[in-house]
Subunit: 184 residues, 2 copies
């Protein structure tokens, strides 16, 4: 069967915004579903791209730990942050890495991209590999109380496999790098 | 420095629900941020777990393609669906695999878990590896117009590395399996 991936089998009848803040807006659409029946679709639009940085110093990698309010728990992750519309993702990556760890990197490679979810939200993530690092002073913003760890990359891989790192973007960046095997 | 990962550095002053549907609710909390300043936090709570199934038939894997309404684009993914609170994730995985592909699997392994995002939403995903497959009839629900592909697992790995599969849960399941190397 020929697949036309450009055809949207959903029809949007109307759309109303139900919530808005500086980071997201939420709308509810009245839709006709692929089977022709009426329905609703609540969609969460993310105003920022998610940015992640796998900062590598030889065989070592940097992780940051922080309490994640929506999850209600502590989380060890690669340095991450938001990239506003119109901002260069690489500029955002440089800023977030330096804010959270104090690190500056001379080498940057755009390493991957992903839709973090697909059912309700449109959050899109881009991650980078940063190398050739120089240490400066971290200056986290007011929403972040961070701890920074420098650990062997192989230990970070172990943490993802053991479920000690559960943040999807962090796991994506670490496992992808493990596969492409620059260090392995 | 001793890190106490149980301490929540945020304080919630009040909370009001701003949106609710069968799949999510959205609330806005008035908070005191880690730096002591007042702020707001909009939180999207997901009522279902996200479930993914890496269905393997020897060196082959099954992908499903569908138009994803929130993303506004077509997406090739592993079979995925939701698991309501109180439902056994394995039961949900069996149901979603059979609905979307017609496949029944005799062997199931719980393979990984992840927080798909961390800034705004609390969506949590669990994925399984399903093997020893038998083919029946797919019966997608009314929100799904699906295409099913059976392809070499190595081709699915290539698609993740090439950015042709961008769904985070699919990439997590495929790359993790590539690392643990049962097939490789």
């Amino acid at each position: 069967m020929e697949i036309d991936e450009t055809v949207n089998p959903w029809r949007t009848l109307s759309s109303r915004q139900v919530y808005d803040n500086p980071w997201i807006n939420v709308r509810e659409d009245a839709v006709v579903r692929p089977d022709g029946k009426d329905g609703i679709y609540g969609v969460v639009h993310y105003k920022n791209l998610a940015i992640g940085v796998l900062a590598l110093d030889g065989d070592f990698v940097y992780l940051v730990g922080q309490y994640r309010y929506p999850l209600g728990r502590y989380s060890w992750e690669i340095p991450e942050g938001g990239c506003a519309e119109g901002e260069d993702p690489l500029d955002a990556a440089r800023r977030e890495l330096e804010e959270e760890t104090g690190l500056q990197a001379r080498q940057w490679v755009r390493a991957g991209e992903a839709h973090l979810s697909n059912s309700v939200g449109d959050e899109y993530a881009i991650w980078f590999i940063a190398t050739d690092l120089a240490q400066g002073e971290p200056r986290p913003d007011g929403t972040e109380l961070l701890h920074v760890r420098r650990l062997p990359f192989t230990e970070a891989v172990r943490m993802t496999l053991a479920g000690e790192i559960t943040d999807a973007l962090s796991v994506l960046a670490i496992t992808r790098h493990r596969i492409t095997g620059i260090l392995s």
